[in-house]
């Protein structure tokens, strides 16, 4: 595409870092809350449900922006296999971001739990109680959650690899810091 952006738009960068922080918090809260019987269980699960629904809304906005504004191209000298891996991993990250909240909501609905968020907002159930559906959705939420964390780690590793080892412009495209546009001389 001609005229492809040099960096992600500011709104895309903002959403990326905001969601990155929230998603990592969600993954930690998720494994933390299901392994405790302490009083913090209740606030943790309330945050997990509320933030999960908020992230579902945010990822839809983010997806719309991505489809409309596009993404900066990957460096031309990146080996094709790495390029493919980058594209696939981003596709997977979007997939997790969309699917995880839906699985979470679905498993609660299928267990006949009322879904009440922070502030008493109640999400009406779109699924009837079902042992089979609950078990399927619950397992998917748990195991895909663990896979999501692994993929986030891979994503972080790749970002650091671009920034610290390859020292290409990939990290700068999403960097939260204001960038000196043409002050990026090759060493």
């Amino acid at each position: 595409m001609t005229g492809a952006p040099h960096r992600f738009a500011p709104i895309q960068r903002l959403l990326h870092w905001l969601m990155a922080f929230c998603i990592i918090a969600m993954l930690f809260i998720g494994v933390g809350m299901v392994s405790t019987v302490a009083p913090k269980y209740l606030p943790l699960i309330l945050i997990h449900k509320t933030l999960g629904v908020a992230l579902l809304i945010l990822v839809l906005a983010r997806l719309a922006l991505r489809l409309r504004l596009g993404a900066p191209p990957l460096p031309a000298d990146l080996p094709p296999a790495i390029k493919l891996g980058a594209r696939l991993s981003h596709l997977l990250l979007y997939g997790f971001m969309i699917v995880m909240p839906l699985l979470g909501l679905g498993m609660l609905w299928a267990a006949a739990y009322p879904v009440v968020l922070f502030g008493g907002i109640e999400i009406p159930a779109l699924l009837p109680q079902s042992d089979r559906a609950h078990t399927l959705l619950w397992n998917a939420h748990v195991y895909l959650g663990l896979a999501f964390f692994a993929l986030v780690l891979l994503h972080v590793a790749a970002a650091l690899f671009h920034a610290l080892v390859r020292r290409d412009d990939v990290f700068a495209t999403i960097s939260p810091l204001p960038q000196e546009e043409r002050m990026n001389p090759a060493e």
Partner: protein
């Protein structure tokens, strides 16, 4: 990954840094998940302690496994509005659904062998907002903390009598419950039992005033004391037969009585009763109108999680509701996944 040429010396440092970031992240995640802390009291460990030596009751609740469903009405008299803005306290009639049950992990327990009897209840407001609770008949809970409850289960599961003696020395609060278990009269009916929240909750009224409360369902039926030896002569399911027959002949009623704590009352410790002089407010009547067997009844698929609360009711500093919620959730996940082992009377559920 194929690098352009050999990694330079400076890249080596970067690679080590990347490895350290990943390693620390993974370790923090494992720690948070409890994978590095075998001593942490998790819902899984609580359920393991609840599991009898013969194995878990597959497809059933992990505790209070034996029960029977009911439906009926909660008739609010309007007195509760002063304490809580919960919609079901506004004078009126609200659908109720629940389950009489026994405090045992054995779904086939002989009724006369189980000391603790319970009642799970769900009351729904007109807009569908639900309030779930799970109450039992002793006047105080056995222990002060979820950790002590785990210790109790472990000690009670041991053959060595010294284990229980050591538990009692470490948890003197157990004496009040033990005295009740030993000397309180038994009855021959679910309808003659009181059911107590034991845990304290916070009621918030429309003005925002907060009160710590406990509540009880006080039976309209007069309790008729009976010895356990007499009960032994009855059938293994006499409680279920009795309640079915009673409700068939007439609805059974309980008055919901809320007890309001004074400042300084032990709201965090369900093993300690509040003084009898505390203010009591009758907020309504539970009317049980229909009994249905659990296997295809409306209570089977409900987790009576006591933290499913309406606006106007919230948890207090009592640590048990959170612990119960966490463990009940796990129990629900397990029994739902074992649905094939549950003896439904109809065809397999789609």
């Amino acid at each position: 990954m194929k690098l352009p040429g050999r990694p330079e010396r400076s890249s080596l440092g970067a690679l080590i840094l990347i490895a350290a970031v990943l390693g620390c992240s993974a370790a923090a995640f494992a720690f948070t998940a409890g994978w590095l802390s075998p001593g942490r009291l998790t819902p899984d460990r609580m359920i393991a302690a609840l599991t009898p030596p013969s194995g878990p009751p597959l497809g059933h609740r992990r505790n209070h496994a034996k029960g029977i469903c009911f439906t009926g009405t909660f008739e609010a008299n309007g007195n509760g509005v002063e304490l809580s803005r919960a919609k079901v306290f506004v004078q009126g009639r609200y659908p109720a659904l629940g389950r009489f049950n026994l405090g045992t992990a054995d779904p086939n327990a002989v009724d006369a062998t189980v000391r603790v009897r319970g009642l799970g209840l769900q009351i729904s407001a007109a807009d569908g907002e639900t309030w779930r609770m799970a109450m039992i008949n002793p006047p105080v809970f056995a222990v002060s903390t979820p950790d002590a409850f785990h210790d109790l289960l472990v000690a009670a599961g041991k053959k060595d009598p010294e284990a229980m003696a050591a538990f009692i020395r470490a948890n003197p609060e157990f004496a009040a419950f033990a005295a009740w278990a030993k000397s309180a009269p038994w009855t021959a009916s679910y309808a003659e039992e009181p059911y107590n929240s034991l845990n304290s909750f916070v009621f918030t009224n429309a003005k925002g005033d907060e009160h710590a409360v406990r509540w009880s369902l006080v039976p309209a039926a007069t309790p008729v004391p009976i010895t356990q030896a007499e009960l032994d002569k009855r059938g293994p399911d006499f409680l279920e037969q009795d309640i079915t027959e009673r409700v068939k002949s007439a609805p059974q009623r309980w008055t919901m009585v809320t007890t309001v704590a004074d400042p300084g009352d032990p709201t965090a410790d369900p093993s300690r009763a509040w003084p009898e002089s505390r203010r009591k407010v009758q907020v309504g009547t539970l009317v049980v109108q229909r009994i249905e067997p659990e296997r295809d009844g409306p209570c089977r698929d409900i987790n009576f999680d006591p933290t499913v609360l309406p606006q106007g009711v919230s948890v207090s500093d009592d640590p048990f509701p959170a612990a119960r919620s966490s463990v009940y959730r796990k129990s629900y996940d397990l029994r739902a996944s074992e649905a094939a082992d549950y003896p439904r009377s109809g065809a397999a559920k789609p």
